[in-house]
């Protein structure tokens, strides 16, 4: 059986009294693009820095490719590529110098592949990193993560500063990595990006994992926006009584609501009282799911 590419068990990190990460359990199989979602300060970067052995867990453990991230950190790093969040590099080196430096520390890379990556991302490697715009600097960071064809690519907000075309190319690169049986751990708050490439999504908030689902399951659970046009002015209270309906607004013959229940039941109620002229539904994207999750959390908090 195949080993998990990334596994965390009860991973916890405290900074003094601040609980940055609490009891995180994850298991990510090889060949998966895993999306790690959360708002700023949720604990995404803390998780990644713990996996990279930059910081040490207060409790619990993490392993990559079956090796403990602390005990075997050097061995692990032979097999991973990493794009830190808020990427900083050496401003006085050119992109190529930077890549050469890391390549030397890795014991060499395939330079033809580096050139391919540079071409795909439209990166400028002969300029000093300090003279590049943040997006172009990010490209250099991406190349260094992908250039050694690592088993696991760990990326913290990798598309920051990239234009939409390059973002799309990056998504393509991630899918290719997964298709080759390699693994991508993608931390992001750009939900549309995660939605396009990830197989599963973990949502983290205040250092706690609050959801772990496939993208499909999340979406099917989702609230939908339902808009019904009736043959006469609508009474909101009629719709408010239906299970799963929230946030009803009515304007003349139109009624708009957020709905997360049985569509048949809703239609039955509508048909019982009015004639239906038109109906449209919009399936929510992750953005809305995301907000829904957080609103729920906030309400229960």
């Amino acid at each position: 059986m195949s080993e998990a590419a990334i596994r965390t068990e009860g991973l916890t990190k405290h900074y003094g009294k601040v609980e940055a990460l609490v009891d995180l359990n994850l298991e990510i199989p090889p060949g998966e693009v895993f999306g790690f979602l959360g708002p700023n300060g949720a604990g995404k970067t803390t998780t990644i820095r713990t996996m990279m052995d930059e910081i040490r867990a207060t409790a619990g453990s993490a392993s990559i490719l079956g090796m403990d991230t602390h005990e075997k950190s050097v061995e692990i790093r032979k097999h991973i590529g990493y794009v830190p969040g808020d990427l900083a590099m050496y401003p006085n080196l050119t992109g190529r110098d930077t890549l050469m430096y890391f390549a030397n520390l890795r014991g060499g890379v395939d330079w033809a592949y580096v050139d391919t990556l540079a071409e795909r991302l439209d990166a400028q490697l002969d300029k000093k990193v300090g003279d590049l715009s943040s997006g172009n600097r990010q490209k250099v960071g991406l190349i260094q993560a992908f250039m050694s064809k690592p088993e696991v690519v760990i990326m913290d907000e990798p598309s920051s500063g990239l234009d939409p075309l390059v973002q799309r190319e990056l998504q393509k690169m991630m899918r290719e990595v997964a298709a080759e049986g390699r693994t991508v751990f993608l931390s992001s708050h750009t939900l549309s990006e995660v939605q396009r490439v990830a197989h599963r999504v973990g949502i983290i908030r205040h250092g706690r994992l609050i959801a772990l689902e496939t993208v499909q399951a999340l979406r099917s659970k989702a609230m939908r926006q339902v808009e019904i046009e009736l043959d006469r002015p609508a009474d909101v209270d009629v719709f408010r009584a239906v299970e799963g309906v929230t946030d009803v607004r009515a304007q003349n013959n139109h009624v708009v609501m957020t709905f997360g229940g049985d569509m048949g039941a809703l239609l039955k109620v509508a048909e019982g009282r009015y004639g239906i002229v038109d109906i449209s539904t919009q399936s929510a994207d992750l953005e809305e799911i995301f907000l829904t999750y957080y609103q729920d959390e906030e309400a229960s908090a």
């Binding site: 990279m52 930059e54 040490r56 990427l87 900083a88 050119t94």
Partner: protein, 554 residues
Amino acid sequence: MLANVFLKTVRDRWLGWMIALGVVWSFVLLGFAAYSDLDLSILATFPEAYRTMIGLRPGMDAGALSIAAIYGTYGSLTFAAMALAMGAASIAGEERKGTLGLLLANPRSRTHVYVSKVAALVVLTIFATAVMWAISIGTASMMDIALGDLDVMALNVHMLASTLFYGLLAVAIGAATGKRGAASGISTGVLAVGFLGAGLLPLIEGGEKWAKLFPWYYFNGSEPLYNGIEWGHIALLVGAAAVFAVVGLIGLLRRDLKGQSVGVTIIDRLRENPMTKKIADRLAGSARVSSIWLKSASEHQIALVSACSYVFFIQLMLGPFYNALPKEAFEMLAQLPEGLEVLFAFFGGGDMSTPAGFFQIETFGMMAPIMVMLVTIAISSAAVAGEESKRTMGLLLANPITRSRVIAENTWAMVFYASIVGFATFAGTALGALIAGLDMSMWNIAATCVLLTLVGIVGGALALAIGAGTGRKGAAVWGATGVMVALHVLNSIGSVTDGLSFLQRLSPFYYYLGNDPLNKGMDWGHPVVLTVIAAVLIGISFPLFQRRDIRQRD
């Protein structure tokens, strides 16, 4: 005026000034304590040339001696260095950090921002000088040290004018070019060359008029401590500072602001030229990134070259210079009673009547160790703490390398560079002595330079250990500098105060010059002690770095 830019600049900088003040004040205090029980009537017998060099006067007492020696060297140099650092950071520094654009996005003109920054520099300098004056006078009266006719106020006014000169020189270069490195580098050069030029040239027959070429002359050349304020000199310094301020403003108003972009170096131009591309690429590109230590080394080339050329040329010139000194001075010095070496303790001690003693006081005592440590502390503080402050450590350690390797390779770079500075010092001294036909043992020069290298490595190792333990570059640079300065003072105090001579042995500087290696050669125990200190500091750096979290923010 833009009150908030002014206030923010003051707030960012006042702590540094307070620390500088504390350091200078503690020197004054130590000076009072160390010199207070000496019988100084012998000073009257000193030859004129000799007295002027370290600001001595017949009838001088402990207070005068401390204030002259400390204001004349440590104090005024520290203040000039503070102003210079602040000046270089004010416009060019913000530009380099990329915050100047943000600042100017507010509805404020460049002139407003510039004037606020300059005002902050001037106000802080005036404030620090005033406090310095007050605490010197206060401490002297508390310790019952009579300052008599000494015009401490005049000395402070001169120090203020001189400090403003260097501060505004740095502001102007930074504002006109946007290059922080140029601002601090050029003004430091002017300061260092002036300090030596104005100090040494008056010793030669007819050299006084040449000394006037150096700005430092206008700080102490008129001996304001005894003669009161020399308004002509003050006017020159302040006038020059005002001209700098205006030139800086004009430059700033006329040019494009730089982004966070890095400067174009000579090697960059060579890399762009097809004729030289290949060789320049090899020099700058593939070679410097082939390993961690080579990259660290290449990033400190400028520091290395500056330090080496400085020590080499100074040492080279000191030989012939020694011959130019009036000979009767040496004859008289040879007859001086025992115990007077205390006067030179702060400069590293040494017997001025021999070439070896002269070299020791002029450079080996202070300048040479400063130059080596400039390089070793820079490279060691950049090694761990610098990478963390710049947030590149995470990326570096994403490669399959251990944290220990980062420490080990940087240690090697530091040791290698210290050795080069040591060798440059040796080459300059030996050549200078040969040219001048001085009676100096090459072996002893070599031994002294080995010890110099080792004491520099100790300073670097301390910066490495602090950086490895804290991840803070400021702590590494200033912690190591502060501790080494304190240890230098400890050694000086220990050497002049009988009851405190045990203190000397706690200072690495004792194992550097304590046995008078230029005259007596190597005491083999001393390099061993220095090596052990360095090894322990480097040794603890490994576990210190290994155990902690990498810092992500500054």
